[in-house]
């Protein structure tokens, strides 16, 4: 008897894997379906991918989504990096600071989204890309923060001391030693922030102004309007992008120095 194996756990696990992946696979398969009723299979084709490439609304939404994700991920990663530099290494109030940083993770997104909407309207901030960038930056911070801090924790303080010992001032130490050693963590954090922003629906749903939809918001309204094979195709594209980016981040986090 292998002490680590419990009966049925393997079967349940495989079942769960199927549960997690079969629906997505069905979606992907149907995106290659030539039939225009989204759920009846006729034969394989790339028609719908061709359609989404030429659909101007999807193009505009894609551009918005990319601008939003880049801007929010850059902002969030920068702020998270700075914060991680402050909280790592015997920082007495780390618990309190991290409680604040993790607020967007814990609070129900819909509540934060409508609250932000009301604030922006009350302040006269125009809804749209700018508003979304602000809100996304805030909730992406904890996602960027985690891998950066993990990397920093695993990094011995003595490298930075060695650099200072060898005449590098604080800035030079950061540039020549801390940053290069932290790089995989920063990249992993950026990737996660990017994916989080790219995939976000709720916040964008409330804050996107007229003419500035993002891809998820577009998909949602398209589903509401009726299921079409186009949605299958665009959903598949989104899935593939997320999976690639998350895998990238996963491997970056496991990278040895």
């Amino acid at each position: 008897m292998n002490i680590r194996r419990f009966p049925m756990t393997r079967e349940v696990s495989l079942l769960v894997l199927a549960y997690l992946y079969v629906p997505v696979l069905v979606l992907v398969v149907y995106s290659f379906n030539a039939n225009r009723t989204a759920t009846i299979w006729s034969h394989a084709s790339l028609d719908w991918y061709g359609r989404i490439l030429t659909n101007p609304s999807i193009q505009a939404a894609t551009v918005n989504s990319l601008i939003l994700a880049f801007a929010a991920a850059i902002g969030a990663t920068t702020f998270a990096l700075l914060a991680a530099l402050a909280t790592s290494r015997a920082f007495p109030r780390r618990g309190a600071v991290e409680a604040v940083l993790n607020m967007p993770l814990i609070l129900p997104e819909i509540v934060v989204a409508v609250a932000t909407l009301m604030l922006f309207v009350a302040l006269g901030v125009q809804l749209g890309l700018g508003a979304m960038i602000l809100a996304h930056t805030a909730f992406c911070i904890p996602f960027a923060y985690l891998p950066i801090r993990a990397r920093l924790e695993g990094m011995s303080r003595s490298y930075e001391e060695a650099a200072q010992d060898l005449y590098a001032n604080r800035f030079r130490t950061f540039r020549r030693v801390t940053l290069p050693l932290l790089w995989p963590g920063i990249l992993a954090g950026f990737t996660l922030a990017f994916v989080t922003s790219l995939d976000d629906f709720l916040t964008s749903f409330f804050l996107s102004g007229p003419g500035t939809t993002t891809l998820p918001v577009y998909i949602f309204s398209a589903i509401r309007a009726g299921i079409t094979p186009e949605i299958n195709a665009i959903s598949t594209v989104m899935l593939v992008i997320s999976v690639l980016l998350v895998s990238l981040s996963f491997f970056l986090s496991r990278l040895r120095r």
């Binding site: 490298y159 200072q164 001032n169």
Partner: protein, 352 residues
């Protein structure tokens, strides 16, 4: 050691933590280290050796006191402006840089010209015989090789003082012995003051010009190895360095010492009351029963190759170690009575 001080540490105190949980790690420590001296801090774990070194390097700031290097007060100077370099216990070689880039790191920071850097790096690597590894990454080197690179990196900028925090502790015994010799040679070649930290007493004694023995944030005794070994002034120092027998004794007026049951020794001591007598195992001698200072019973003897180590039981209880280098003699039976001679010049009288 020459007249001027390379490192001057005056009344340094350092505590960690605040308020009630504050721990004083260094308490009013003063040391003067001469130029080109090989100076060693020796002491048990947690006695504050690393902390003192880090204060000199500038990684920590002292609560009180003055640190001067080459006559300049550097107490508040950040590490990157101090003319000292450190060989870290973990080496702390930059993993993202090659050996060459590691060694050239400081030179680049000092704004040295490229070709000059290249030749300096070459020299430094030559000195530690790592020239052929210049393009490797630290992760592709063995522990001993990393050690050498760390040395070269710290020596390349030609600091006034080199700080070494247990640099050999990660190496196996054989490599350690080799590196000890190399370190000593390097120091002579480079003509730099070495401030070395170890808790290996043998290493301290073989390498150093002077040794400071630390305990609980204080320097107990400071001096050349021979003096530390042969004339310890504290019970702790005597006990910490090498094997030693410590006997409880009573100082009597008229230069007499009483050891246990009615055995008295004539000896100038200048003390009164309870004292500790210290004698190294190799300085006591075996005699025929009744012919020595006192008689004892042999518990057992261990053969050490070049010597015999006898464990004796003293009349008042307590054991005594005796190291006898003339192995040729006929072995003694366990349980036999022997005489024990304690030459007056081998005995040290210590406060309790």
């Amino acid at each position: 050691m020459s007249g001027s001080s390379a490192v001057s540490i005056r009344n340094i105190s350092k505590s960690f933590g605040r308020g009630a949980s504050a721990v004083r790690v260094l308490d009013d420590v003063s040391v003067e280290i001469g130029e080109r001296e090989f100076f060693t801090l020796l002491g048990p774990s947690g006695c504050g050796k690393t902390t003192l070194l880090r204060l000199i390097a500038g990684f920590e700031l002292a609560d009180r006191g003055v640190i001067a290097i080459g006559g300049q007060d550097l107490t508040q100077t950040p590490p990157f402006r101090r003319p000292v370099n450190t060989v870290f216990q973990s080496y702390a070689l930059f993993p993202h840089l090659t050996v060459e880039q590691n060694v050239g790191f400081a030179l680049e920071e000092q704004g040295m010209a490229r070709d000059k850097i290249r030749s300096r790096v070459g020299e430094a690597l030559e000195m530690v015989r790592m020239h052929s590894f210049a393009r490797r990454r630290p992760s592709e080197l063995s522990g001993g090789q990393q050690q050498r690179v760390a040395l070269a990196r710290a020596l390349a900028p030609r600091p006034q003082v080199l700080l070494l925090d247990e640099p050999l502790s990660a190496l196996d015994l054989k490599l350690r012995k080799e590196m000890q010799i190399e370190l000593k040679q390097l120091q002579a070649e480079a003509g730099i003051t070495f401030l070395f930290v170890t808790h290996d007493q043998e290493e301290a004694l073989t390498l150093s010009d002077r040794v400071a023995v630390m305990q609980g944030g204080h320097i107990l005794q400071m001096g050349p190895p021979r003096e530390i070994y042969e004339a310890p002034t504290h019970r702790f120092v005597a006990d910490f360095i090498g094997d030693i027998n410590l006997l409880e004794a009573e100082a009597l007026p008229g230069d007499q010492l009483r050891i246990g049951q009615g055995v008295t020794l004539p000896m100038a001591h200048g003390k009164a009351g309870a004292v500790t007598l210290a004698i190294r195992p190799e300085r006591a001698r075996l005699t025929a029963p009744g012919a020595g200072t006192l008689d004892a019973t042999l518990i057992h003897s261990a053969y050490l190759g070049t010597a015999l180590l006898h464990k004796l039981e003293l009349p008042g209880g307590g054991t005594f170690l005796l190291r006898q280098s003339e192995v040729a003699q006929t072995p003694l039976e366990s349980g036999s009575r022997v005489g024990l001679a304690l030459p007056a010049d081998a005995l040290r009288v210590l406060d309790q």
